[in-house]
Amino acid sequence: GRMAAAVLLLLQLLLAAGPAPGRADAGQERRDALREELLLSPLPTGDVAATFQFRTRWDADLQRGAVSHYRLFPKALGRLVAALGVRELHLALTQGFWRTRYWGQPPLQAPAGAELWVWFQPTVTDVDKAWKELSNILSGIFCASLNFIDSTNTVIPTASFKPLGLANGTDHHLLRYAVLPREVVCTENLTPWKKLLPCGSKAGLAVLLKAERLFHSSYHSQAVHIRPICRDASCLAMSWELRQTLTVVFDFFSSGQGKKDWSLFKMFSRTLTDTCPLASQSKVYVDISPKNKEKELLEVSPPPTSVHEAVVQGEKKTYAVYDLLSPSLFNTSRSLNVQLKWKRPQDSSEMPIPTLHAQRYVAGYGLQTGQICTLIYNTHPYRAFPVILLETVPWYLRLYVHTLTIITKGKENKPSYIHYQPAQDRRRPHLLEMLIQLPANSVTKITIQFERALLKWTEYPPDPNHGFYVGSSVLSALVPSVTAMKDTDVEQSPLFTSLFPSSDGSSYFVRLYTEPLLVNLPTPDFSMPYNVICLTCTVVAVCYGSFYNLLTRTFHVEEPSRGGLAKRLANIIRKFRGVPPL
């Protein structure tokens, strides 16, 4: 009725407006592309790590243009990048701790809790304001407590975090870094993360992302990386890349009756049935590298589409590849359930030790002082290499910088670069960045003493006796590679190798996070004020009561009738003695 009338009217005016819209871009190739990838790697301890990567590449300039039209790139993030002048954004939400010593070098590691680091555009005038606004909006998008990021946990690292994407200058005043170690990651963070995927969790690899399985694991880390990249080899134009990554470690050895065999269905209680029609590449990689140069011990089924060999993080690796887009894969069976079986039980005594790993703990006793110790291991047999260590310590642990000692093989190791920014109470944390040379086959021990500050009573979190978290320290290093690596085209190589830029063939970039620390602070007895109130009130009330009685009662002398018990007893005794009674 009335809608039709209105439409009719508009039809008239639109017909007057001009010819029908051109189909200029009908034949034009897509300006955005989606690649998805799942890497399954058995870990030396018998656990299995599954790393999902979804990469959306958009050949558009997000910074310019008031009107933006999104296809595969999620609008929520695109608007954020455009509105706040973000150049690069890395957000990771992690539950659990990646045990580098036992699990080896991770493809992507993140510290426990929430980690956010952002490079802003040089055009942003008030970086702190943009950072505050950004963390608030992100906390809304991902249902995380990122709104607790403020000046007391934000630092500006000078050397540790370089832009991973295209960057003209690296003025570190445009960088902000914050970690919230207390953050608990759960389903409510996963759901919005999944919603950003073009296919949601309806098709493609994302069907495996079932929350009840993903959080039934020893390690869960989900991340979002946004960065500008070169559009092509000539790098004349810029594209935007959104990488959504998710890493889970399933503990099969202890939960699976001592067997190390696994399958997709066992891990995710789902199998792959179809592909995401929007993805231009969709692959599953399974790490089947032979250990100890022995014959292949493991067997994967169904037979892979191809086998990919590459040098990843200094090691030669072999991957079985399942290309979900190849028509042959789903011809034979309706679903893909990748299975891995060990041919014979493998002795787990000799586990490979990663070249670089680290460990951190709090030493000391009492509630006044303490010591943070960091142990960094270089297990490379003959090569020394430098590592950048970044420590962020909250202001309520007052670091004594003069107690900083770095000892390697019993001798003092002088760092070649130190950047220290002291904390200001309730305003900013300590920031300590050092470039330390690690000799071959060595352990470096870094210790620094601190004093615990007293907080105001409103500054304690709920459950203060749980302790206070100190975020992980960050180790960034170019680790020399045992095997030489070849230069590969980034667009062609698998996604798990292409997040960090490789400098040359002889070394590879590693970023490691140590354990977060839990430190006890002197905690007041919070029931004390109430106890004091109760006690003083009782005293006051008792005093008041007796005064009141004194003032209001009337006293008069009362004749003793028969006397008390003592008197009667005395009279009985007197009677016996023949003395007159009292």
Partner: protein, 499 residues
């Protein structure tokens, strides 16, 4: 709600062409006249509208312009001769027998702020006709009531009143293409071209009212919340009118909130049904298919279902490539946009001819119509906000009002007073600007975070803390009270014994 008194003054000029002056005119031209109208909203809110009319005869130039062949040409020629300030209106009365207006048409409303009115015999009849035209071109009792819908008892409001968007400093318009079945359909839409061609001119015109931002997105695997019913007769799927309210919710979760701004979002969704559910048609309440295959949701936006023609041969390879006909889609979305802004041209009497606004999508007088309503709404909002702030302060006395909050309140009061004065002087644009400033200041004052600090320390907690003091102190008092009562009772008994 707070008492509110607003007087809206519309300056208008009535120009009599040769041979159109009513016979019973009491005074010689030119002269001034005034008409007042009371719009009743509720007991404490009164809106008076006043039309200040100036009657005069045509000048030589206007006479020449009125001798054009068609009404449109005459309107175009008259435009440079008029008073073009916002809110003012010019009426040209043409002779009863004039050929400017087509047969059966008595009023022609132009693109700008003028109208051609066919003369009627008596002055009273002419004035009645003029009143109808002015109300169409400025505001009606209905449009003011819709703007003040918060204050009107809900029983009095029509269904249309709640459809209009609330006045805001800005709006975000999001066009979303929902493709629930990307396996079967690859849908392409030239949204960029369509926005530039159809939406931008309208928004440029509307930019006077508010800031607009436009973006678009494509959502895959986004399904409606209702499974459509299969109809054997037409071998199509049907969505009935009563199930439409359930359609939006699951989609809404995917739309993505506007995290980066606080403005209300207008959503326009184009839904390409899955292959297993197409073609899909929307039925109205009587069961007839809706010709546009679209519906709108008040204050939210609109949804249009876009059916893909089935391929000629069933074994055509999937996915089907679909190019959306953007002219057809935008027609519907723009009509919905007008509806949501309360600018629909329904309900216009058949003797009225409205000039189509052309590419701009909006005539000048329609913009005025929007400004009148938004100004009144803004003034009402500011008065409500400041009143609730005052009530809050009355209720919780120990809230600290900082100097900057106080200055925002003063500024809001000053701006709203200036808006009311300007409305009563007939300066629509200035009044609207002042009302906008008043809204900004009052909201800033009301939502200032410093007001929140003290709200969460209720008095009963203080009681809980002091109970250990009060309770033991109360015991001797109560005991002695009991004793006094006992003694007075004894006293009362004793005298009777003595007697």
């Amino acid at each position: 709600a707070a008492p509110l008194q607003v007087r809206l003054v519309v300056p208008m000029t009535v120009v009599f062409g040769p041979g159109s002056v009513p016979r019973d005119l009491s005074r010689p031209l030119p002269f001034r006249d005034m008409q007042e109208m009371e719009i009743s909203v509720n007991l404490r809110t009164s809106v008076t509208s006043r039309y200040e009319m100036r009657y005069r005869s045509t000048t030589a130039q206007e006479e020449a312009a009125l001798s054009a062949a068609t009404a449109r040409e005459a309107d175009a020629a008259l435009h440079p001769l008029q008073d073009t300030t916002m809110g003012s209106l010019t009426m040209y009365v043409v002779p009863e027998t004039s050929s400017l207006l087509p047969q059966g048409i008595n009023v022609y409303v132009g693109k700008q702020r003028s109208a051609l009115v066919r003369a009627v015999g008596s002055l009273a009849a002419l004035q009645a006709r003029l009143r109808e035209v002015t109300q169409l071109m400025s505001f009606t009792a209905g449009s003011i009531a819709a703007a003040l819908s918060d204050r009107v008892p809900s029983a009095q409001l029509g269904p249309d009143a709640r459809r209009n968007l609330k006045s805001s400093l800005g709006y975000e318009i999001t066009f979303s293409l929902l493709n629930p079945d990307p396996k079967s359909h690859t849908v392409d839409w030239d949204i960029e071209g369509a926005v530039n061609r159809y939406v931008k001119p309208v928004l440029d015109k509307l930019s006077l009212v508010a800031n607009f931002s436009v973006d678009s997105q494509i959502l895959y695997y986004a399904v409606l919340g209702v499974t459509p019913r299969y109809d054997k007769e037409s071998s199509s799927f049907l969505l009935s009118a009563h199930s439409l309210p359930h359609v939006i919710n699951p989609v809404e979760a995917r739309l993505g909130s506007s995290a980066a701004s606080l403005y209300p979002v207008l959503n326009f969704l184009l839904y390409v049904p899955e292959r297993s559910h197409s073609p899909l048609y929307i039925q109205d309440k009587d069961g007839a298919p809706v010709s546009t295959n679209a519906f709108h949701s008040p204050r939210w936006g609109g949804i249009m279902v876009y059916n893909v023609e089935a391929p000629a041969s069933p074994q055509a390879s999937l996915p089907l490539h679909v190019d959306v006909d953007m002219a057809r889609v935008m027609e519907v979305f723009l009509a919905q946009l007008r509806l949501l802004f309360g600018l629909s041209r329904e309900g216009v009497p058949p003797e009225f001819l409205l000039e189509s606004p052309g590419n701009e999508g909006l005539a000048d007088w329609e913009l005025d119509h929007l400004l009148w309503a938004h100004t009144v709404e803004n003034i009402a909002t500011v008065s409500t906000t400041l009143t609730s702030l005052a009530q809050l302060l009355d209720k919780i006395g120990n809230i600290v009002i900082k100097d900057d909050v106080a200055s925002e309140v003063y500024r809001a009061v000053a701006s709203v007073q200036s808006a009311v004065t300007k409305l009563s002087l007939g300066h629509l644009h200035a009044a609207f600007q002042a009302s906008k400033e008043a809204v900004t200041s009052s909201e800033r004052a009301f939502f200032d975070p410093s007001l929140l600090h003290l709200l969460y320390f209720p008095d009963d907690q203080k009681f809980a803390i002091y109970i250990p003091l009060f309770l033991p102190m109360a015991v001797p008092i109560l005991l002695s009270l009991a004793k006094i009562v006992r003694e007075t009772r004894l006293h009362r008994k004793e005298p009777t014994k003595m007697d």
